[in-house]
């Protein structure tokens, strides 16, 4: 099948985030295992005007596209949701009362409801979108988690967990709940917090029991995650949250300090006797690319 994959950023430019990482894995699987011809089309690609030349269009992160292109997109197409596009602040601030009359939503609603399938990263992801556009509940949809390399994020028995230590990743960003994190750190003086991630670029007065460790390369992230007893994460709403899943996979004894109802990954059925079942989680994220294409295939058949 010849497929146009519409995406804001070039996938190999190294400037994307989780969304681009997801796309890359899905595209790789589609090309290598299923022999699809997939053209990644960014807004400046001249092929944006020749989308009718493809058998299928997959609309990934597309906020930078000319609205007219998306309005006139030929059918069939699949919408692969990442953040919450219709929201001016993307994934982070829906669910306020005024979201129900969101001025930005109508344009996206038309796109979503014209698709053959909407793919969400989690049941929570749909729930938050449907808060603004309730019709999405009744439109064909599937849940496909972010693909994570479970072989990379696996526990290491030789690493000893440091007691009363808490790891945070990018949690000093406001949309990841920085205020709440700081409040929690202040209240729990016996715990030691190591906060990793990119510099949030604002002055934050960290309590004495917390240290900002800065950015770390993804390659050494599993080794770091294995050392901590806890992982702290209080996002406003996160469609999936790779970091939480990576921690749970890399550290089977580790515990999460989190706002559970705001983390998409935790809205899947991954619990056994009230605890997170690492095996279920492993299977969920490992099969994501395969599941992605099989959901599309089912719809088009």
């Amino acid at each position: 099948m010849k497929i146009a994959w519409l995406q804001d950023l070039p996938l190999n430019a190294g400037i994307g985030s989780g969304a681009e990482a997801n796309d890359e894995r899905m595209i790789q699987y589609g090309r290598c295992k299923l022999n699809h011809v997939i053209d990644v089309i960014i807004p400046t690609n001249p092929m944006v005007k020749r989308l009718d030349k493809y058998d299928l269009r997959i609309v990934s992160n597309c906020v930078r596209f000319n609205p007219l292109i998306l309005q006139g997109i030929p059918k069939p197409y699949v919408v692969f949701h990442h953040d919450f596009w219709h929201c001016k602040y993307r994934a982070y601030y829906p669910k306020t009362d005024k979201c129900k009359g969101c001025v930005y939503a109508p344009r996206w609603k038309e796109l979503y409801l014209g698709s053959v399938l909407n793919i969400f990263l989690s049941p929570l992801h749909l729930k938050v979108n449907a808060f603004v556009i309730p019709e999405l509940n009744n439109h064909p949809h599937a849940f496909v988690p972010s693909p994570i390399d479970a072989n990379k994020f696996k526990p290491n028995k030789n690493v000893k967990i440091k007691k009363d230590t808490v790891m945070g990743l990018n949690c000093l960003y406001e949309f990841k709940g920085s205020k709440k994190v700081i409040g929690y750190i202040k209240k729990h003086k016996k715990l030691k917090f190591d906060l990793y991630g990119a510099d949030p670029d604002i002055e934050i007065d960290l309590p004495k029991n917390a240290e900002f460790k800065g950015f770390v390369d993804n390659a050494i992230l599993p080794d770091i995650m294995q050392q901590y007893e806890y992982f702290i994460h209080f996002p406003q709403n996160e469609a999936f949250c790779r970091a939480v899943v990576e921690f749970l996979l890399a550290n089977h004894k580790g515990k999460l300090i989190c706002t559970k109802e705001n983390i998409g990954a935790l809205s899947y059925d991954i619990y056994t006797k009230g605890k997170i079942d690492r095996n279920k989680l492993h299977d969920l994220v490992s099969n994501a690319p395969k599941q992605f294409w099989s959901e599309i295939d089912k719809k088009l058949r």
């Binding site: 709440k180 515990k255 999460l256 989190c258």
Partner: protein
């Protein structure tokens, strides 16, 4: 709410644009407790390389570049001020970059627009559709922005309403109970126009622009003068005589045999800024018998200023001047002689010259003192900045703030109520 306002002219200039910038933003909104410190201006005329400040309000430079539209430095200024909203008072058809930025969501644009043509060409509707809210200067303008009577089609759905421009009732008011009293009080002004106590003074307050029907006005005055040889007619034109590409007014005065009775504001600066302040202008209105300005204007401040000063204006029986005069002195509205279409489809009305002569005769033969109080109290009751215009303007600002909130211009407060749990 951080506001960047842009009027075609600097608030230091006494053109209608400059005057409104000064009266609305500098003298009032910027001093309002809710908006103090949140207002900055962006001046175009005169073009300047330097930032300015007026009564504590920052006036951004336009870089000395595009003086007509002031768009060259719009985005840097908008961002420097961290503006939430951009207000303009300017003809909308001129804008180009502003439209682009508004369409891209880079600025939240609220144009307060004078419509001085009819009908509105389709491209103007298209431009205005990019605005967050459109505010007309007249009800007439508001109506044709919403509905195009020519194509019989509904047009803009982002029209907020209309807000008139205003006058300061403490400044524009009759200084006596009769014209004779006023002329006695302003004897110096009378002399400066080379007029006597019994002269019939006609005043034209209009910037010298090719779009204004100066030849028709002057021709009418010539006919009036010729048909009333016993009347000592005097003409004061509150404008610059000769500007490049505009009317050569002194030549026109000579052509219409009016040069012996005509006085001009000597230069543009004198006419609008340095010498003739509103204070002087109110005296000129006060001693005049008629203020002659029938034209299709965007608002026509001279109409309300002359009424507030107790002097009868002669306006056009179409558009804003009709709206302003119809409730109080419709008998001085002049019919349209013909319509002229600009190449860009903006229609202009030319007043009927004979009708102007009739109105001048009517004024010459009427009891002007009867109109003095009637007109000034009407103008004070309906157009005073503080009593009438600004309350509506503050209502607009509140609605703009709500709209900005609806559009999430500021990051909504993060909900921090979610329960924290520890999961194994």
């Amino acid at each position: 709410m951080k506001i960047l306002f842009y009027h075609k002219d600097s608030p230091r200039i006494s053109s209608s644009y400059g005057k409104c910038a000064r009266e609305m933003w500098i003298n009032r909104v910027s001093k309002h407790p809710k908006y103090r410190g949140d207002i900055a201006g962006y001046a175009t005329v005169p073009a300047t390389m330097y930032h300015d400040e007026m009564e504590g309000v920052r006036i951004y430079s336009n870089g000395g570049g595009d003086v007509m539209r002031g768009e060259d430095f719009l985005l840097p200024n908008y961002r420097d001020w961290k503006s939430d909203v951009y207000f303009t008072l300017m003809d909308p058809h001129i804008f180009d970059q502003t439209i682009k930025f508004a369409r891209q969501g880079l600025i939240n644009w609220v144009p307060h627009i004078p419509i001085d043509y009819y009908p509105i060409p389709p491209y103007v509707y298209a431009k205005l559709s990019s605005a967050m809210m459109v505010v007309a200067t007249t009800k007439w303008g508001e109506n044709i922005l919403k509905y195009d009577p020519v194509s019989k089609e509904k047009k803009l759905d982002n029209v907020w309403g209309h807000i008139h421009l205003g006058i300061d009732k403490n400044l524009f008011k009759p200084s006596g109970d009769s014209k004779a009293d006023i002329r006695k009080e302003y004897e110096g002004t009378l002399k400066s126009l080379h007029a006597k106590e019994d002269s019939f003074i006609i005043t034209i307050v209009a910037n010298n622009q090719i779009r204004k029907p100066f030849p028709e006005w002057l021709k009418s005055i010539q006919w009036f003068r010729e048909s009333n040889p016993d009347v000592d007619v005097r003409l004061y034109i509150h404008s610059q005589q000769n500007i490049r590409d505009q009317w050569p007014l002194s030549e026109h005065a000579s052509f219409f045999k009016l040069d012996d009775i005509t006085r001009f504001a000597d230069t543009y600066e004198y006419g609008t800024w340095r010498c003739y302040t509103d204070d002087v202008l109110s005296k000129i209105y006060g001693i005049s018998d008629a203020v002659l300005i029938p034209a299709l204007e965007g608002f026509s401040m001279p109409v309300i200023e002359s009424m507030a000063s107790g002097t009868i204006p002669i306006g056009l029986d179409v558009g804003p001047q009709k709206e302003l005069m119809d409730p109080i002195c419709p008998e001085f509205l002049v019919g349209v002689g013909s319509w002229v279409m600009n190449p860009d489809l903006r229609g202009k009305a030319i007043p009927n010259e004979k009708d102007i002569v009739d109105k001048l005769n009517k004024i010459a033969n009427c009891d002007q003192d009867h109109y003095l109080k009637k007109l000034s109290s009407y103008a004070h009751k309906n157009f005073d900045w503080d009593d009438c215009i600004m309350p509506k303007f503050y209502k607009l600002l509140e609605d703009v703030e709500s709209e900005l909130d609806r559009r999430c211009v500021k990051i909504p407060e993060i909900n921090t109520k979610e329960k924290i749990s520890i999961l194994k």
